[in-house]
């Protein structure tokens, strides 16, 4: 019984962690602009 319970808890925890990550992504406007990030990698920070 306890192994099953443990697995349930683990799966819930993983799902919850994924959900928190998603919430964070939406709240920090990660989905607002899908155009700019792909150009950002081309910037080199010579002065940073």
């Amino acid at each position: 019984m306890w192994t099953t319970l443990l697995l349930i808890v683990v799966s819930l925890a993983l799902g919850f962690a994924g959900w928190l990550l998603f919430l964070w992504a939406v709240k920090s406007d990660q989905y607002d602009d899908v155009e700019r990030p792909k150009h950002r990698m081309l910037d080199d920070d010579e002065d940073a």
């Binding site: 019984m1 099953t4 349930i8 799966s11 819930l12 799902g15 994924g18 959900w19 998603f22 919430l23 939406v26 406007d29 989905y31 607002d32 602009d33 899908v34 155009e35 700019r36 150009h39 950002r40 081309l42 910037d43 010579e46 002065d47």
Partner: protein
Amino acid sequence: MALCAHCLLEVPEESAIRETIDGKESVFCCPGCRAIHGLLRSEGLTGFYARRHGWTPGPPETARVPLDAFDGAVRTSGRQAEADLLISGIRCASCVWLIERYLGKRPGVLSTRVNFATGRARVSWDPSETGVGDVVLAIRALGYTPYPPEALHVGDALRRETSDLLLRFGTAAFLSMQVMLFTAGLYAGYFQGIDARYAHLFRWLCFLLSTPVVFYSGAPFLLGALRGARHGAFGMDALVFLGAFSAYGYSTASLFLGGEVYFDTSTMILTLILLGRYIEAGAKARAAEGISRLVRLAPVVARKVVQGGGTIDVPVASLSPGDLVEVVPGERMPVDGNVVEGGSEADEALLSGESAPVPKTAGDPVVAGSRNGTGRLLVRVARTGGDTVLSRIVQAVEEAQARKAPIQRLADRVVRFFVPAILLVAAGTVLSVLHRGSLPHAALMAGISVLVIACPCALGLATPLAVLVGTTSAQARGILVRGGDVLEQAAGVRCVLFDKTGTLTLGRPRLTDVEGIGIGREDALRLAASLESSSEHAIGRAIAEAVPAARRLTVHGFRAHPGEGIEGEIDGVRYLLGRPELLERFGVPVDGEASRAYSAHSAALRTAVLLSDGSRPLAVLATEDALRPEAAGAVSLLRGTGTAVAMLTGDDPGVAARVAVEVGIGEIRARVTPEGKREEVRRARERFGPVLVVGDGVNDAPALAEADVGIAMGRGTGLAIHSAGATLMTEDLLRIPAFLALSRATMRVIRQNLFWAFSYNLAAIPLAVAGKLHPIAAAAFMAGSSLLVVGNSLRLRKGGR
């Protein structure tokens, strides 16, 4: 001629501003550019010049919005203030880089994030150190123009809605996956046996996991259903609400009273429908934003010339026809008017779709929103504000979009009668069970079970899922569809109206004939191509491209004669290239063979130009705007399905008739104004039924918006794309009949889906009312009918490619 170190525009020697920087002389076209260059140097941001590749920022725009207009945009919370600004002039990723870096270095600025796609910036700062005015001035100092964001309130609301739907959908998706996991365990347990403790635990877990889905993710449906109920109207929201909430309610009751649970049903239906709504809302938000951005193209402040010669800044709204305004290089025209003094060129791409600058000298008309090039102009105001060409077109688009009756979706029509009927049956069941002497809670359960059975996912999913799959598979075929209603409308289209230039034709001329008179064909072509190599005109480019750059000769003293042609010197000989009028003006007689060849080309509706060495005509060159190779095929495919096809064009009837014959279109309307095209759409609708319009220019925008379905060409102007319901990304006209076939297939699938969902109801409801339906059979029924709908909808992905 030197190039301005900041904006890369050519600077005439006499007006150049010179400055020695790091031992090297730099040239600037105006004080604005010099100031920006100095700013970037002092901030160590000259990396900007290294990272732009052949991109020219143009001289700084000088339109000004009063600083206090930005106060409303500021949100203050504690020690942090924040504002969203719209920034015009952002054209590439380096602009974003520059603004983010520069603002980041301002004292008190905490963070800057510029959205490249929408041109919006979110800046936050410490109010004790700086203010919104400083931020605005800093952005202006870089040569970009910030605007307060309220101009965009429509797009804003839609964007908020999109982000809200995304949160609700994401939450529902994560939780549904977990619910499915335990439900699978419960189903397996049903057949293989399961320890009662586990079954109990799983049910409770399902309950806990699905509660947020129903009450948080499902809240919009609950509110929508309540709103509808208040008006006595039942729509999709009510159906989804009944389906999801009754399954949830029934399962929750079973949890305490004993019985099967259907939590998975309620979470899955909400998740799938939220996904469809999210995608649709995103597309709508982008479209709305595009239109309101266009309106803002014209500046709100103009420099009015006052008596005595000076200028003062006044709001454009206060100008009246007859006033004189000054337009400096790089500025957008604030009004429609006529040039009184000065010479420059204007980028009128927003009206014509043609990006080549149009020369402007005294007497020429200019339109609000077009961008002034390198010269200073004095313009006599003819029309302002709502009367300008730009705002008339935008108004026509908005009017047509607002007036178009929202399509009554097939499913909505069905649901309107279905939902009240089900509610009646459920209420009847409760009463009859009570009448037979059962306990109230048993009667209530019987009533809810009728609701659960009668409002399965299948019915709720029937339309959204088919539309979702139809939309994405249209996209895979190169057609970007803005919403599901476009597909439904397209299925009923009876008449297709094509624009000519840029739609049926390629929209760019091609050199077709070269005839030498007295000199060889090759020599004539080489001379003409060399002369045209620095020309910006579409026909000039067509001629220049006919000869590789390496084989062209050096041209001195190039001069353009707007509307007539060009002149230039090669190896000491002065050549003229242009219309017969140009040659005659320079005293070259156009007669004999030259005159005959020219008229022959004109009669064949090709655009011809003459080459001359200043004494006699040397050659005749003809260009033609070629038809898209697949145009005729697309037209005949459309006619094959019984759809009427006609052509609308602003061009003259002769050219239109020839194109029509070549592509096989019988009906043409030539010399039609933008508003006239809209009128033609209405007339066609009366004659044939729903109308599809295909176009590319701003002049097509009113027709595209008025049409039941508008399809814009992918390389068309922004306004055309935003006015249309769909965009043809690949510019392949054959996709249009394919798209119509796809929308008809989508509607067919929706009808099939509805049919199956109803057959299921017809079979199951009597059993549920009689209380004879076994819980696991009910679950199988529900899952089975949903799978059927999902599978049937997925069929749309195949075929027709």
